[in-house]
């Protein structure tokens, strides 16, 4: 009986480790998940609110330049690390003509964290001085269309024609190299 209990506990630990490895470790291949709109498709057009001035905008209004649409929650440590990386690389995106919009997921995925502007200021203080960066707050439909499974720290690179060029459900910090490689090829 004792041994059986121990076996259950050990199997449980192994299952958890396997789950974390399978889902948690970065997806550096950039393969899109089924919950994400596919690469090549028209980027779903839904609205969001710019954090700086409360202006409502929608995805289709972003046309003309490549845009990095990055979905975060402000209580998420991985997203904070992504901000630190973005802080060091925002000039790269500026030089490549890529706009970056960091979007707080709808209601911060159900748990209230810091306001997105404070979050950005804390972990990426330099980015706000760049004209190609803006932070925003997602409406329900935007989060549902781009992240219906509620993953954290996923992003899309949307082309000037409004089509999705690249996407990744691995964290920005862990997959920045792949993203840059894609941006370089534009």
């Amino acid at each position: 009986m004792q041994k059986r209990k121990m076996t259950y506990v050990v199997v449980g630990i192994l299952v958890v480790i396997a789950l974390v490895y399978f889902f948690g470790i970065d997806n550096s291949s950039g393969a899109s998940q089924s919950f994400m709109p596919p690469v090549g498709a028209k980027a779903p057009n839904h609205s969001f609110i710019y954090a700086s001035n409360g202006t409502v905008a929608n995805v289709s209004s972003l046309g003309g330049k490549p845009v990095l649409l990055w979905f975060v929650a402000t209580w998420c440590s991985g997203c904070a690390v992504g901000n630190e990386m973005l802080n060091d690389n925002i000039s790269y995106f500026k030089n490549k003509g890529v706009d970056v919009i960091e979007v707080e997921l709808y209601r911060d995925l159900g748990y209230s964290g810091a306001p997105i502007s404070s979050f950005v200021k804390e972990y990426a203080p330099n980015v706000t001085s760049y004209s190609n960066f803006r932070s925003a707050i997602s409406g329900y439909n935007l989060s549902l269309a781009y992240d219906k499974d509620g993953y954290l720290d996923i992003y899309y690179l949307i082309g000037p024609n409004g089509k999705i060029l690249y996407e990744n459900d691995g964290s920005l910090a862990a997959t920045l190299k792949e993203l840059k490689s894609k941006v370089n090829s534009l």
Binding site: V9, W75, A80, L105, Y106, R107, L109, G110, S143, K148
Partner: protein, 175 residues
Amino acid sequence: MDYANGYSESGNFETFEDTASVFKAIKVRLIAFFAAFFIFYYAIFSYFSFGLVLFGISYYFYYILVSSIVLSVLASLSITLGLYSQKAVKGSTAGSRSGIYAFVVSLVPSTMCCTPVIPSILVAVFGSGGIALASGAIQGVLSDFSPAFILVAALLLYYSVHVSLKRIKKPSCEC
């Protein structure tokens, strides 16, 4: 080296109160387990930037360091004293069970928050959208209350160490 040497040589643990000699007997393995646990915890906590949002850029490193040290010390003591006591005294494994629970509890906040594990489970149970878009209600709590999980894990490990020491000092006890 046989863990139970001290026991078999003395032949009477009822009167054995020299904890120092127990630690002398387990010293090498204690250090080895401590090093292994410390590397493991530090690597996991660093990989997931454990406590970054809670403690901020300036202090979260200390949180990772202190948590890793405390858990490693207690986990290595729990394992080595547990093995020692099992060889010296046949009987209950209550201490080792709490050590395993502690190991799981200590890893929950770092591995379950900000990874796709919880969203995937919610999607599997409830489907996409809706509840899946509120997975932060679980993950955010794990993030904000991670010190409580570390504390619970430390207390479970402490209990495990306490039980093992008690069994070593007094083999006849039903602990």
